[in-house]
């Protein structure tokens, strides 16, 4: 089980990084989403995995003993999921604005600050 799950994590990373290395911002965005999932899963596996023993008590219990899933990574990931959503939308807006201002989504062509053929900073300033 661990091996297959770790392959899943690895492939999520591969897909995310590959997309993020692309030149088109849209693909970078998709890459960020996959990458976020990959990181969440990695943190999750760091807490070790356990089947069907969620860290939730039944009504007659006052503390959890014995084998229980690790609640700490879960708490970390829970906020990470929501925050990564918000950052995703932030990136999306930035993409929009960039496209609107510059007229391209090719990162190589984003050269408003350092136009092609001009002297490079600091001499250019």
């Amino acid at each position: 089980m661990e091996a297959v799950l770790s392959i899943l994590v690895g492939l999520f990373f591969t897909a995310g990084i590959y997309l993020m290395l692309s030149k088109a911002i849209v693909r970078i965005l998709l890459g960020v989403v996959v990458f976020g999932n990959a990181v969440n899963l990695l943190i999750f596996t760091a807490g070790r995995i356990m089947r069907e023993v969620p860290p939730v008590m039944s009504l007659d219990m006052t503390q959890l003993t014995g084998d229980t899933a690790n609640p700490l990574p879960q708490a970390l990931i829970l906020t990470a999921i929501v925050i990564s959503f918000s950052f995703f939308s932030f990136l999306l807006v930035l993409t929009f604005r960039t496209y609107q201002e510059v007229g391209t989504d090719d990162t190589v062509k984003l050269r408003v600050a350092e136009p092609e053929g001009k002297i490079l900073p600091p001499m250019g300033y």
């Binding site: 799950l5 969620p54 219990m61 829970l78 925050i83 807006v93």
Partner: protein, 972 residues
């Protein structure tokens, strides 16, 4: 007043004076001078009155704990040597303050000058009086910084800025070296206390870290005292106002280096390494400084190189390791300060009166300013080592030491010759200074008509020259006792017998003096005509400038090297940077793997759970498919991405993380909605990649990217596998599991962690969420869609066209009826989802759910309405005001946190209780649930805000389209 208080006052007075001086109005030149003179005079009196206490032989000490755990204390210590130096610094400081009144012009910023001047004096006294090595380094750095301010006083001049920057760079580097050296000494001795260090000479000298320690300490001393090869900053620092040069570059700052060497000489000196390091630097500075000084055109340049030479002499004396050498070094420090300060001031008068310092332009000033000329001549004679002046005495002692054999090496054999040659050079440049400035023809084209300066401007020089004469004629009576306590405090029991007399009989040193005097005079006669017209700088060495090398180094480090790094590593392209980042993290991660012998061989598939494996195969297929399809069909990629998200979600369910599953599922939904809303406004896909006809270079690039990504993925696989197959360490999780109900009052441990144990973190996180949402909102406020996205979507246009073709339909009907049934269902779902969200929220503390999940669910309810009925329809009926939700959420969460203060508990302490409500039953009523309510409200606000700003784009589009059509019509 006891002596400790006086010591404290001595160091505090100049700094207090500096603060006071800074407050004067800019034009209060006289008042300013009065204040500064009083402060410096006070310091002189304080130093002088400490003499009886110091003369007893035990140093005066003052100790105030600063950071005792680090061995740091503000401890002051004044022994005979420190006393002599503080007298020197305060007296010359006082004289220079008077002189400055007449030197500085009314246009200069006088408060700034005196403030820095006095602060410098305080810092210098700090170096002299520090009883703790770290404290000494602090004051040492302070002198570097203040001297930067003083050298750059006329910051409107480029040479002042350059000189200041150079001196700060060099002395700053030296200061860092000194700090490191002091730390090493402290490590060896176990204390930074000067007394403790002075007591452990043998321990330090036999320690393996001795050589690094002296190298670093000497780096500090050599840079400060402008010793070869760090000498070149001093001539450049001559751009400073002349009073600054007279004070800093004769008496004080440059003396700090030799002071430190003399101070630590009993501990660090006397070894072979010390002899070579200081001996070489000293001899080189002595000889080169004197040689370079002959060929300067600027008077101050001549004096600066002469200072380098004299400091080299002192360094050479300290290198010898003989107590008599140390006596001569201390004596020469005093003598040099007296005659060099007076010469600098004389140079300032000449500059002030005639408007130039160029010796080739000057001449014949003796007739115009006979007093100044006489004073300068006496001081120059002292510099040249003419008998009956103080310079002669210490030079005699130097000659006597030079002919002794110390370490039996080539340096030792060369010492007498070096001494005589350098002294001859000193005679030459002294004669040149006097002859070129005061004699010869009087030039007609001087910028100003020279005449004698005011009496008070000359008085400081008179006093110093008088000192030169008196010490030179009757040394034993005048300074004998003062010098003796200084020498005893440095050398202790090793103090040798020495004699301060003018006449020792017909000795070898006397012969050497005579040779040097005659040789130097002859050399000047030979060089006279050459010097009258030569270029600046010595022949042969003219091109070899330390300054040039320094500038080259700076240019290399700050510009060429930076460009090189930038060209190879730095990038102007995000992808390249990202690739580098991934590659670096791969290497960084691979090293621990390699070190712990973790190989691929340890990777075992083990038993495979078929449903899991199938699920993950789907997930993998989705992720890979999304990556592949992102090039061609973004919608497909998006759907596949959703698939990957769902697989993550199911993984969470099966692996005991129901909270995560719920949240992930809901976030996947809103993310999909967001991308769908956004995709519309993004640029069209690239044409060249559509049919796989990409050029080879693109294919290569993609191949490389894939390789990088695959290796990174493999690494992550191994990492997560390695983590999962190892036993879990005992973490804080156990504590959470045990205490969740007892102390948090909740049965869902994850939720309790979020809203209770780690509530403060969550508070921070929701704040971030709110900020991001507001930023998104702000970025969109003035956004107008890009021109090529203003048109209606293609599908809508096709449908509209169908309407137009058919007579039984009204244009726009198909579009408005589109997805009618689903939208009705979506509208009906609105209350259902709200109830669901409330349910998720209320059960959150005990069962999977909670504020985050409920918040996202609630926002899904809102956005579904937008999708179903359109923005305009929704906003006509429902005003959501998400910004208020955000504010309210943050307010609730903050108030809950602050509420615990009322009961005397720390921020966000929770209190739990169960309340039995009719119908609904027993519900948990921990204060944490109120906090969760804040989280819920904020998540709703943030998510809805982000979603509806995207949704609003469609309204903007219509408006933008309308504007563009109107414009066209108007034009038509």
């Amino acid at each position: 007043m006891n002596s400790e208080t006086m010591l404290m006052m001595l160091i505090a007075l100049p700094f207090a004076g500096a603060c006071l001086a800074a407050l004067f109005p800019p034009n209060a030149r006289n008042a300013e001078t009065w204040a500064a003179a009083l402060v410096t005079l006070g310091a002189v009196v304080l130093s002088a009155s400490l003499f009886p206490a110091v003369a007893t032989g035990t140093p005066v000490r003052l100790n105030i704990e600063w950071l005792p755990t680090l061995g740091l204390s503000f401890s002051l210590r004044m022994d005979g040597f420190a006393w002599l130096f503080s007298m020197l610094v305060t007296c010359i400081g006082f004289l220079v303050v008077i002189y400055s009144r007449y030197y500085m012009s009314p246009d200069d910023a006088i408060p700034r000058f005196y403030a820095f001047f006095l602060a410098f004096m305080g810092a210098m006294l700090g170096i002299i009086l520090s009883g703790n090595l770290i404290l000494l380094v602090v004051f040492w750095e302070l002198t570097s910084i203040i001297s930067f301010m003083l050298i750059g006083y006329w910051y409107q001049k480029a040479d002042a800025r350059d000189g200041a920057r150079m001196s700060l760079t060099i002395t700053g580097v030296g200061g860092l070296g000194l700090l490191a050296g002091v730390l090493l000494i402290g490590h060896i001795v176990g204390s930074y206390d000067l007394d403790a260090v002075l007591d452990s000479g043998d321990l330090i000298r036999s320690h393996p870290l001795y050589v690094p320690a002296i190298c670093l300490v000497l780096l500090g001393a050599f840079t400060k005292s402008a010793q070869f090869p760090f000498h070149f900053w001093l001539p450049n620092a001559m751009a400073a106002p002349t009073p600054v040069s007279a004070f800093l570059h004769s008496a004080t700052m440059v003396k700090a280096g030799v002071f430190l060497m003399a101070r630590l000489w009993p501990v660090l000196g006397g070894t072979y390494e010390w002899f070579w390091l200081t001996g070489f630097a000293g001899a080189a500075s002595l000889l080169l400084g004197a040689y370079f000084a002959i060929f300067q055109r600027d008077i101050k340049g001549l004096l600066a190189y002469s200072t380098i030479s004299h400091l080299g002499l002192i360094t050479l004396l300290l290198s010898l390791g003989s107590p008599l050498g140390a006596v001569a070094a201390i004596f020469h420090m005093m003598n040099h300060a007296t005659f060099k300060a007076s010469l600098f001031m004389a140079a300032g008068i000449i500059d002030h009166e005639s408007g130039t310092r160029d010796m080739q332009k000057l001449g014949g000033l003796f007739k115009l300013m006979p007093y100044t000329a006489t004073l300068a001549m006496v001081a120059s004679a002292a510099m040249a080592g003419v008998p009956l002046l103080n310079g002669f005495l210490s030079k005699e002692m130097f000659f006597a030491e030079a002919i002794e054999t110390h370490a039996d090496s080539i340096l030792d054999t060369a010492a007498p010759y070096v001494a005589v040659i350098a002294s001859a050079f000193a005679v030459t440049y002294s004669i040149r200074f006097i002859h070129a400035v005061f004699f010869g023809e009087r030039p007609a084209d001087l910028p100003r008509e020279p005449h004698e300066p005011p009496f008070l401007m000359r008085l400081p020089i008179q006093l110093l020259v008088l000192a030169c004469l008196v010490i030179g004629i009757i040394p034993a009576i005048t300074v004998g006792s003062f010098l003796h306590i200084a020498v005893v405090s440095v050398l202790g029991a090793d103090t040798p017998a020495y004699s301060l007399a003018v006449w020792h009989g017909l000795t070898v040193p006397l012969g050497m003096s005579v040779i040097a005097l005659i040789g130097g005079a002859l050399l000047y006669v030979l060089l006279r005509h050459y010097l009258a017209h030569c270029e600046e700088g010595p022949p042969y060495f003219r091109r070899l400038k330390g300054q040039r090398i320094f500038e080259r180094v700076l240019v290399f480090v700050s510009w060429r090297f930076a460009r090189l790094v930038e060209a190879t590593l730095g990038t102007r392209r995000m992808q390249q940077q990202l690739r580098l980042l991934v590659a670096v993290s791969l290497v960084a991660a691979a090293i621990p793997f390699y070190n712990s012998n973790f190989g691929l061989g340890l990777f075992e598939l083990g038993q495979i759970d078929i449903p899991f494996a199938l699920l993950w195969v789907i997930g993998i297929a989705c992720a890979v498919g999304a990556a592949h399809q992102a090039k061609f069909h973004r919608l497909v990629a998006l759907i596949l991405l959703g698939g990957a998200g769902v697989v993550t979600c199911i993984t969470f369910v099966w692996l005991s993380a129901p909270d995560l599953a719920v949240t992930q599922l809901l976030v996947e939904i809103v993310t999909a909605v967001l991308i769908l809303l956004g995709l519309r406004w993004l640029p069209k896909r690239w044409e060249d990649t559509e049919l796989g006809r990409a050029p080879i270079s693109t294919k290569l690039r993609r191949g490389r990217d894939l390789l990088v990504a695959a290796v990174a993925g493999l690494g992550m696989t191994l990492l997560s596998y390695a983590v999962m197959t190892r036993p879990s360490p005992d973490t804080i999780s156990g504590f959470f599991l045990r205490k969740a109900y007892e102390e948090g009052g909740g049965r869902n441990v994850v939720n309790v962690i979020l809203v209770d144990f780690r509530g403060f973190d969550t508070f921070g996180e929701i704040t971030v969420l709110g900020i991001v949402a507001l930023t998104v909102f702000a970025l969109f406020r003035r956004f107008r869609p890009a021109p090529d996205t203003i048109e209606s979507p293609e599908q809508q246009r096709i449908q509209a066209a169908t309407d137009e073709e058919r007579s039984d339909r009204i244009t726009g009907q198909t579009v408005s009826d589109y997805l009618l049934v689903p939208s009705v269902i979506m509208q009906w779902l609105f209350p259902v989802i709200i109830v669901f969200a409330a349910y998720l929220f209320l059960r959150g503390h005990d069962l999977p759910g909670g504020g985050f999940a409920a918040g996202v669910a609630m926002s899904a309810a809102f956005i579904l309405q937008y999708l179903a009925a359109g923005t305009v329809w929704v906003e006509d009926r429902l005003r959501i005001l998400p910004v208020n939700w955000i504010g309210l959420g943050l307010l609730i969460a903050g108030c809950v946190g602050i509420g615990s203060w009322v009961f005397g508990y720390p921020f966000l302490t929770s209190y739990s209780q169960y309340i039995d409500l009719p119908v609904i039953g027993e519900i948990p009523a921990a204060t944490a649930i109120l906090f969760d309510l804040g989280v819920f409200s904020l998540v709703v606000g943030a998510t809805v805000l982000m979603l509806i700003v995207f949704a609003h784009q469609s309204i903007r589009r219509l408006r933008a389209a309308k504007i563009s059509t109107t414009t066209i019509e108007e034009v038509a």
